[in-house]
């Protein structure tokens, strides 16, 4: 698993030429972009799709009887179908476009949770969660009187099916779990959790913001009821997210936003609403963004999510070994325990660590000076920081365009950091 060179069939050279920014420099050094967990770079096809909309179509969708509006509508609908295919949703009504994964999570929490949960109902979640999949549920719990329960994690931050079972009761109504931790890259056993949720009669919400970007996902075989993700983390534009939801659940929910494009009839006093997906897409959507999102998922599919996940695993294995050699480094999460090839079947391409007692900011700043872009801080996951017992981490995250050499540059920069602060 931890081969030194990139698999010979993976078209890394071609891929790198497809991302215009990869030819540029940062602080005078060639850019080593290791922050795709925050947002990914954009390939030229996505830029072109947006550009085409902005300079050749430009019109609003729906209700337009002229060609440009028709074209915008057709491309918008095509994008929805591309995203539907990408996650293998049953029909297009199950794919809602939002502004980001955060909005998607809030639509679930407020549209479903707030409407259907009652005092004493239980919501199960984990300390692995990004704030987007936690804070809305805290609010819903406070508003409805439902209780938030946390699955106990093992010492390196893993979720076992038994641990999940241990918090399930007959009052469990929702299980909201990340598909992949944005701090450690750890991927909980979603299929097992889905089975537990099904038996418990609970709605299973998966935060897919990291998962969907990096791994093949099939919502039907996975058995989740809701899935949230963001275009900008998967080669798409900023300002677009998606919410997958089972049709019957979506149909029962209240929308978060009311206004144009989501109504059947509006009188002075009241209104009736359309079906899915329109009910959830009020107002003029991010048309160029959605069209770009469609181009992004088709681009990813062209390379293949299996291939991308495989590439990232190789990068991760290399990074675990090389970063682990830097004096004083502490790596967080399951990858430290048995190495990548060990207990973790499908680790996501994320490595969180600290360097001695240096503050992550200081490490990140020296790395920046070396052209190496990493994220530092608490990664919108404070409960996970509390679990790890650190105020923050340095996080290197990998994607389809990264190379072994970039990881080696990370390691060199870490050694330089030690010198600066020696």
């Amino acid at each position: 698993m931890s081969r030194r060179t990139v698999s010979r069939t993976y078209p890394i050279d071609r891929i790198r030429t497809e991302f215009p920014i990869l030819g540029t420099t940062m602080r005078g050094k060639p850019l080593a972009y290791l922050d795709s967990g925050a947002t990914s770079l954009k390939p030229q096809v996505v830029v072109d799709a947006e550009l085409h909309y902005l300079t050749r179509i430009s019109a609003n969708i729906h209700r337009g009887v002229y060609q440009l509006s028709e074209e915008a509508t057709v491309r918008f609908d095509e994008a929805r179908d591309s995203v539907r295919q990408f996650i293998n949703a049953g029909d297009e009504g199950e794919v809602i476009f939002t502004k980001n994964a955060t909005e998607s999570s809030n639509i679930i929490a407020f549209g479903w949770g707030r409407k259907f949960l009652k005092t004493g109902d239980e919501i199960i979640t984990t300390e692995l969660e990004h704030h987007a999949n936690l804070v809305p549920w805290q609010q819903v719990a406070a508003a409805t009187g439902a209780k938030l329960l946390f699955v106990p994690l093992d010492p390196v931050g893993r979720v076992s099916p038994d641990a999940v079972e241990s918090v399930v009761t007959e009052r469990t109504r929702v299980m909201a779990v990340t598909g992949m931790s944005n701090v450690t890259g750890y991927m909980p056993p979603l299929r097992d959790i889905a089975a537990i949720a099904r038996r418990a009669g609970a709605v299973f919400v998966v935060d897919g913001a990291q998962l969907v970007s990096h791994h093949p996902v099939d919502v039907q075989s996975l058995g989740c009821d809701f899935l949230t993700f963001s275009a900008h983390k998967m080669c798409g534009p900023t300002g677009v997210g998606a919410l997958y939801g089972r049709r019957d659940l979506l149909e029962a929910m209240d929308p978060l936003l009311y206004g144009g494009d989501m109504i059947v009839r509006v009188g002075k006093e009241s209104a009736t609403f359309k079906g899915v997906p329109d009910k959830f897409e009020s107002g003029t959507p991010n048309i160029s963004g959605v069209i770009g999102f469609g181009a992004a998922v088709r681009y990813l599919q062209g390379i293949g999510m299996e291939a991308i996940a495989g590439h990232e695993q190789e990068l991760l294995a290399h990074a675990v070994r090389r970063v682990g050699e830097v004096p004083g480094v502490a790596i967080y999460g399951p990858v430290t325990e048995q190495g990548v090839a060990g207990g973790v079947s499908e680790p996501g391409g994320i490595l969180s660590f600290n360097l001695g007692d240096l503050h992550p900011h200081d490490v990140g700043a020296v790395l920046d000076g070396e052209g190496v872009a990493v994220r530092t801080g608490f990664h919108c996951a404070q409960p996970m920081m509390q679990f790890l017992g650190v105020p923050g981490t340095v996080r290197a995250s990998f994607y389809l365009y990264n190379t072994f050499e970039e990881i080696d540059r990370l390691v060199d920069a870490l050694n330089k950091t030690l010198e600066v602060f020696s």
């Binding site: 209700r63 009887v65 509006s69 028709e70 494009d261 059947v264 009839r265 359309k274 079906g275 329109d278």
Partner: protein
């Protein structure tokens, strides 16, 4: 290609201008209203049956020329025919517009072929389908012997 020739063929305009079937039936055996929310078009169908045969069928409501011509064609095509026949024409009409199948209509429904040009104007297809999706609901009700819903939103035809 000119849209006026393409879309507004004489045969469509004739059906649009004809007010023959544009009236309410009261009482009707089946009555159903359908809307396209995004354009506001709103069509009501009225059907009387007599031993499995559609003895009378009319429409009323608001819609563009494509929408009302299509409703008028529907009335002309179905009157005097069986429920089964109606189902067959419906599925062929949808087939032509949605799945780009070759048109293949019985004689009494032959005018529907004129709507084929709509395939080049995808956002207008729902105009032509409004009356037919409304009919679809009636046919379902006939089969299931259920009380009809008050309103069908036909905007995202399957």
């Amino acid at each position: 290609m000119n849209i006026a020739d393409d879309l507004y063929k004489e045969i469509i305009l004739d059906h649009y201008r004809s007010k023959k079937n544009r009236r309410r039936l009261d009482p009707a055996d089946y009555h159903q209203e359908g809307v396209n929310p995004s354009c506001g078009d709103d069509i009501e169908l009225f059907i009387k049956t007599d031993g499995g045969i559609i003895s009378e069928v009319t429409y009323d409501g608001i819609g563009c020329s494509i929408c009302t011509a299509s409703a008028n064609m529907l009335c002309e095509a179905l009157v005097g025919n069986s429920i089964e026949f109606a189902g067959k024409v419906l599925s062929r009409f949808k087939g032509m517009l949605i799945r780009a199948e070759e048109p293949d209509f019985p004689d009494s429904a032959a005018d529907l072929e004129a709507m084929q040009g709509l395939r080049d104007y995808p956002v207008r297809i729902k105009c032509a389908l409004l009356a037919w999706n409304t009919l679809d609901q009636i046919l379902n009700d006939i089969q299931s012997d259920e009380k009809p819903q008050s309103l069908v939103d036909t905007e995202r035809p399957g």
